[in-house]
Every structure is written in C-alpha cells, then in structure tokens.
Symmetry: C2
C-alpha cells in the first residue's frame, strides 16, 4: 500500500513546529489585545458570490471552489456540458468557495452585522486562507493570515497605533526591521503634478517594483505604459529622494504645492510621524512604497526584516470604501496583516525562538512496573495540581527506551521511583541537562521544578 | 443590493462569542498540555483517497469535495457526462475534500510520519471539521473538534489518564457530569455467552439506543435483527444490571465466566477503575454504553452533563487498528474528543463563564481633542508597557458616544484627561461599575488597575 500523502502546497505541523507557530500567533494576539482589538472568526467557506470579482480575474481562478452536495449537475443542460466552458460550469456546480484572504470576509462581516456593531470596530482575526497558486518554496496553498483592522473611524490615531503594534510585535520577536510608510494621496499628487493623473495605477504598479527590478526597468515600464519622457524625468528626483523624514516632507510639500490631494497626503504622514514618539526614528518615509492592492487610499505601511533576505513580512494601509462592494459605502478603515509563515522562516533562520519553545512536559515519571506506576500516578496528581506538566510513561519497558523518550520530548526532569523510594515516600529526581540526581519528597520536587 | 450572507450551517463568531470559545479551547488545551500531550495540526484539505470509504457510505456523501483547479473536465468523456452518475463524476472532477473529523487525518499523519515519531505518541488537535449534513439546531456544517490520542502504547494507564483529563476539564468548567465507562470486549463476551457472537454489531447498535428508545424498543430491534427470543431474554439481566461498580464487576465476572474475551474486558475496566484514585466514585460502569463507532475494541467512555438536556458532550475509547487502513497494522491507540459546540451551549445555559470573559480592554482614554489625545497616547504607552490592555478613543466626538462605546465593550475603567489633568500631569480615572472618579498619576492608575 502506498504511503498516504497530503495535497501539494499543504503542510502537517509537528508538535515542535506547532509550538513555534503558537509562539508567533500568541505574540501577535497578545499585542493586538493590549491595544484593545478583539477577535472574530468567519467560516472557512463563503458564498462564491461574496468572493468572486474581489481579487481580479487571476484571483477568481485561484479560488478553491466546493462542489455542491447531492446532484450538483441537476441544473445543467447537456448542451452546457458539451460547450465545455469551464468557468461557466464551475459556477453551476459550485455555490461555495474557501476564503482567499481575511479582508473580504471581514468586509462581508461588517456589512452583515452592521446593526450589532459599535463603531469604531477594532477586530483582529487569525485564520488560514486558501489559494490555488502554483506551490513553490515559501508559497503554500493553505497559510495563515493575522489581520487587525479598525473600521468606522477616520482618525489618523489609528494609523499611529497600528505602527506601534508593528513595532511592539517585532520588538517582542527580537527581529530587527525596517518599517516603511507612505501615502497613496502623495502618489496621486505626484501623478497629478507630472501631468499624468489618469495613469496613477500604472505609476504605482511600476514604482512598487523598484526594489526588485531597479530604476532603469521601472522607467522603461513607465514609458511602455504611455507616460511621456518629460513626465518620467519629472519623476526621477521624487523616486530618488533621500534624507531624513523631515527633509523628505519639506521637499514633498514644495513639489506638491499645486496638488491638493498630494498636500493632504503629506499632512497625513506628518501627523502620524509626529504622534509616534520615540518610535519615529525607526520609521522610514519611502515615496516609492506603493503596495499592490488598489483599495488603499491613504497611509500605507510595509515591513522588511533587516537580517534575512525575504519579501515583506507585514503590510497594511487605509482604505476608504472596502464595504462599498457589499452595498455599504462611506465606511473608512485601516488595517495591517502579519505574514506568519515568513516570520516563521525569519525566526528559524535567526534562531530567535525562546529556549523552551520545543520543550514537551516538564517532568516524566519512569515506569518500573504496576506497583511503582500506581505510586507515580498518585504523585503525578500532585505535580499536575501544582501546575507542572507531567507524564507517567505508560509502559514498563526498558529504562533506556524511556530515557530516550524523555530526550526526544526535551523533558528537563525525570523522576525515578523504585521500591526504596516508595518505602521512603520519596522520588529520585534527575536533571536531564546536568545529570544531577537528588532524592526528594514530592513537595520538594514541586518546589524545585517551579 | 442584498445583504451579504454566509453558507447555511456555518457561523460568524463575534468578539464576545470568540472570548467564550477561547475560554473553552484554552481550558481543554491547558489540561491536555498538563498531561504532556502535544499539539499538531493537519491541512483542512486532504486527498479524497484518504477520506473516502472511512466513514461509511453515508459519510462519503457528507464529504465536502473541492473542484480541481483549471480544466476540471479535461479527463471526462462526453459519454460519462451524459451518463450523469453523480458519484463517478464528482470523483473525476475532485481530488481533494475537506476533513470530516480529526481521527482519520491523525491516522494518516501517524503513518506518513512514522519514521519521525517517537512512540508512544501523545498528540492533541483542535481544529474545525466540515460535514455536508442537513443543518439544524445545534448541528453545523463547520464545527470544532478537540481530540487527544495516545498511539503506540497498549497500557491501560493511558485510559486512566484520559479519564482524569475528562474529570479535570469539566471540573475547571464547573459542569457537573456523568462519566460512563464500558468495554467493547465485555460486549463481545455478552454476545458470546448468549450464543450470538456473530451478531455483536447489531447488539451494540441496538443497546446503544437504550437511552433514546427504551428497553422494549431495543428488544424489538434485537428480535428484528434475528436474535432468538432466548438470547434476548438472556440479555435482560445484563442490560438492567444495577449496583455499585464493584458489584457489577463481580456479577459480570460470573456471567462471562465462559468467555475469554469477556473476562479480559472485565479485567481491563477493573484495572482502570482501581487506578483512578478518589475519582473512581464519579465514574459509572454502564454495560449498555456501546458508542456507535465500529473501530473501538477496548474501553469506551462517554460524558453527559447532569444539569442540561443535551446529548453526549465528550466521548472516546481504545482502538486496536486505526492505522491499518493506511497499511500500518498493529498500532494500538486510545483517544477522547470534547464536543466544543455542545459544551458552549451547556456553559451558556448554566451561565458558567468567568465574569470577565466578555470584557474588552481594561482602560479607555476619552478623546477631548488633538492636544489631549497626544497626551493620552503617551500615557497609553505606559499603561500598555505595564500590561494593561488600553484603548485611546480615536475620534474627538461627543463624550456620550465615547462612554457608550466603553459600556458596549464592557471596559471597566475610563480615563479622562482635560487641560487641568494635563497641567497637573494627572488622570481622572472613572470606575465604570461604581461610578467612582479619582485623580491619579499614571503610576497610581497602573497600580490601581493591576
């Protein structure tokens, strides 16, 4: 019989991997909660009418669709089947799909529950998403997103707090990062003043690639997209702008003097930076930061790790009309999303996990036989009541096998109870790290391990 | 535009619902970890070859199948389409399905990773499962299971620890429960001594319904299934057996004197009960407990709430050959599964959640304007550094709206900082429960809230 396997692009997580992942999720969760964000969850399956058309044509193809139960073909004619229009038939056979991200389900949630929600609504959500992408290194078909959003408040204080959250999370992880900020209104202003306002999407898409393809290729792409040589030249000093945040702001205020929207973007960034306290020194105003997603309308953020070569590990921004797609216009929001899988890779490469992350139970009772095991069970009741994670080895097999189990589980203390210990009402406790062995009462043992 | 909705049988979870659910999951998780169980996760999608045929014919129909990406019809002939054999075509169109429980994926996990695993392997798993069941009150198409299993150990100490876990979890919840134990070998022994060994499945299925349909209907079903009148009569004193556990064991040892397997079952139950310490008084040996699942081969458990009318809220048992279906025979295991959704309903009905479960942040700073908010932000940095979950209301709107936000979020403390407070470097702290208001430094405020 062939060994069973799992679908490509998906993963099993072993106990050690789970411990590391939980460390990541719990850290993010703790910081979100510290700022008053509250958790929600939405179903894995959404109606396809909720998902389709929200991620572009390519996104529609990457949705996992769920076959209707029962006779899924009952509403399909033979003529339709013969036509072999895959998209059309998929829509006939499937009403539901797996969620593709947490943003669209969140927008759907807000609109569906609008009467019950108190604005501003600050939610976080940590759940898997599924994409039928071609699997490759670091890209999976099932992966977790860790989003926080505030909707129903235009205040830039939300942007300030989200940047504080980003800083706090990476501080707790011990990952040195570069946090970039920009504003979509500044980009709109730039498009305006170089006389190419209607080309704003092409411009943002092109300069977003600056890091990856370099300035020459960005310029080539801009020209290919129909920008005039003059406009591209006007863009150069802005793309290459350097200096402190304050200097960049001063320059942009001059460059964008004639653009109302551009000046508004500058003022927004300035407000956020001014309210960040000491943190401001770690934030980098980067006018080439564009973020691919078209729904952003204000401040945008992106985080990269300084010590590992990897793409962005966190991103986010302000959007003014996310719920408009579900018939509820005019609700502004701002959010961030931590890329848990990439953070996992960064923590692994830099070996930044807390030392006891992979540790199993704290204490293992060795099993010397039925009588001894019964004695150990009663002691284990006491150590567990004291909050010490405890195992009693279930089988009275060779000592060596039991000790190798303790090592494999990274259990730091092993307790041995033979006849002598039972008579003396004691335990021989072995420290697996130092090899030191001491004879203790259970009360002393609890004291020592705690 | 129509209000968006979610697929029937699925649910959104609001912040308060999530807080309650997390209380349940965390309690179960903590107890599992206290006993040295370690968490794993498996993908939502499994290959249909892993899932099909594992849950009976009815189960196969209840699997959610995922349409293959791209041209899902490329391998299907027109003749096959015309034939309209729904099962056959679903198998052609779909390679993957959503997991139906955590047991089969766990068995698949153990076989797939056998070389990396150290036996005994004690794992827990808390993840959603999906079933295309007809939705009804208390039955959902997406729900969580919370399983713990030990594989690779025949020792009955595992049964003992799992019963301790069950007791500890419900003790922490404050739910009074009836924990039943029985043993499949006893049931086999009974079938043997009444001369109907080959009817063991019919017998267990019938007496499993005793609670629901009553003794007369059980007997009618047994007769309908071809048991002789004599056999059914022989069964009566066993089904109706009462007394203490010790009395029942003594009786069964006599009744089953001629059945080797039956006596083994009695000895197993006796060993488990003898090793349970004081707990033994809360466990009820119930010879009519059968558990529907056919893979059980030894001890079986079931838990019912005493103060709420609801089905079983936890169950489990020993199985000797779960991984055999994936080509790895001879691996024994024993496990339990907490029914989180039913436990949720029980806790709701009995109002047993800890008082602060629904509470949002601990502290809200009221926003009186740009200057004041900047001052509050700097104080919030300090309260958060002290571990106090803190919000700063982002917009300087009417006081009443901000206070009603605090009430809706069940925030216990509200901080007011106007001009006076800013000059005096103080905070007016309002206790939302008592209405008491005091003027404090931020250090005093931290002390008070902690």
């Amino acid at each position: 019989m062939a060994k069973p396997s799992i679908p490509k692009g998906t993963r099993d997580f072993s106990p050690v991997e789970m411990a590391k992942r939980n460390y990541i999720f719990n850290t993010i969760r703790d910081v979100y909660a510290l700022y008053g964000f509250r958790q929600i969850e939405t179903p894995a399956m959404e109606n396809l009418s909720t998902l389709m058309g929200k991620y572009g044509e390519e996104g529609d193809k990457l949705l996992f669709k769920i076959l209707n139960s029962g006779d899924f073909m009952s509403k399909t004619t033979l003529a339709e089947l013969e036509e072999h229009n895959v998209g059309h038939l998929a829509a006939k056979f499937c009403e539901k799909g797996l969620r593709y991200d947490l943003t669209v389900p969140f927008a759907r949630f807000v609109v569906q529950h609008r009467e019950e929600l108190q604005m501003p609504f600050k939610r976080y959500q940590i759940q898997p998403v599924w994409r039928a992408d071609r699997p490759q290194k670091g890209r999976y078909r099932e992966f977790y997103q860790c989003d926080a959003d505030v909707v129903g408040s235009d205040s830039l204080l939300n942007e300030v707090e989200l940047m504080q959250i980003i800083d706090e999370v990476f501080h707790r992880f011990g990952i040195r990062v570069d946090i970039k900020i920009n504003n979509r209104k500044i980009l709109s202003g730039i498009a305006e003043v170089i006389g190419e306002a209607e080309k704003i999407v092409d411009i943002t898409v092109a300069i977003d690639k600056l890091d990856k393809i370099g300035l020459d290729n960005v310029n080539a792409e801009l020209l290919a997209n129909g920008l005039t040589q003059e406009a591209v030249e006007k863009l150069q000093p802005i793309i290459s702008l350097s200096g402190t945040n304050a200097e960049k702001i001063a320059t942009m205020r001059e460059v964008l003097a004639d653009s109302e929207v551009g000046l508004k973007g500058v003022a927004e960034v300035e407000f956020v930076l001014n309210n960040l306290g000491e943190l401001v020194n770690q934030i980098d105003l980067d006018l080439t930061l564009a973020r691919g997603l078209n729904y952003y309308t204000g401040c945008i953020f992106e985080v990269k790790a300084l010590d590992v070569e990897i793409g962005s590990i966190t991103g986010g921004g302000r959007y003014d009309n996310l719920t408009g797609i579900f018939g509820m216009p005019g609700l502004s929001g701002v959010g961030i999303s931590f890329g848990a899988d990439r953070i996992y890779d960064v923590l692994n490469q830099l070996e930044l996990y807390p030392e006891d992350t992979a540790q199993g139970a704290q204490l293992l009772f060795i099993n010397f036989g039925e009588q001894e095991a019964a004695y150990c069970l009663s002691l284990a009741r006491q150590t567990r009541a004291a909050g010490i994670s405890t195992e009693v080895y279930p089988d009275s097999v060779k000592m060596k096998k039991q000790m190798s189990y303790a090592n494999a589980q990274q259990i730091p203390f092993v307790a041995l109870c033979g006849e002598t210990e039972m008579q003396e009402k004691k335990v021989a406790l072995k420290n697996m790290l130092t090899g030191e062995q001491t004879s203790l009462t259970v009360e002393e043992l609890i004291e020592k391990i705690r």
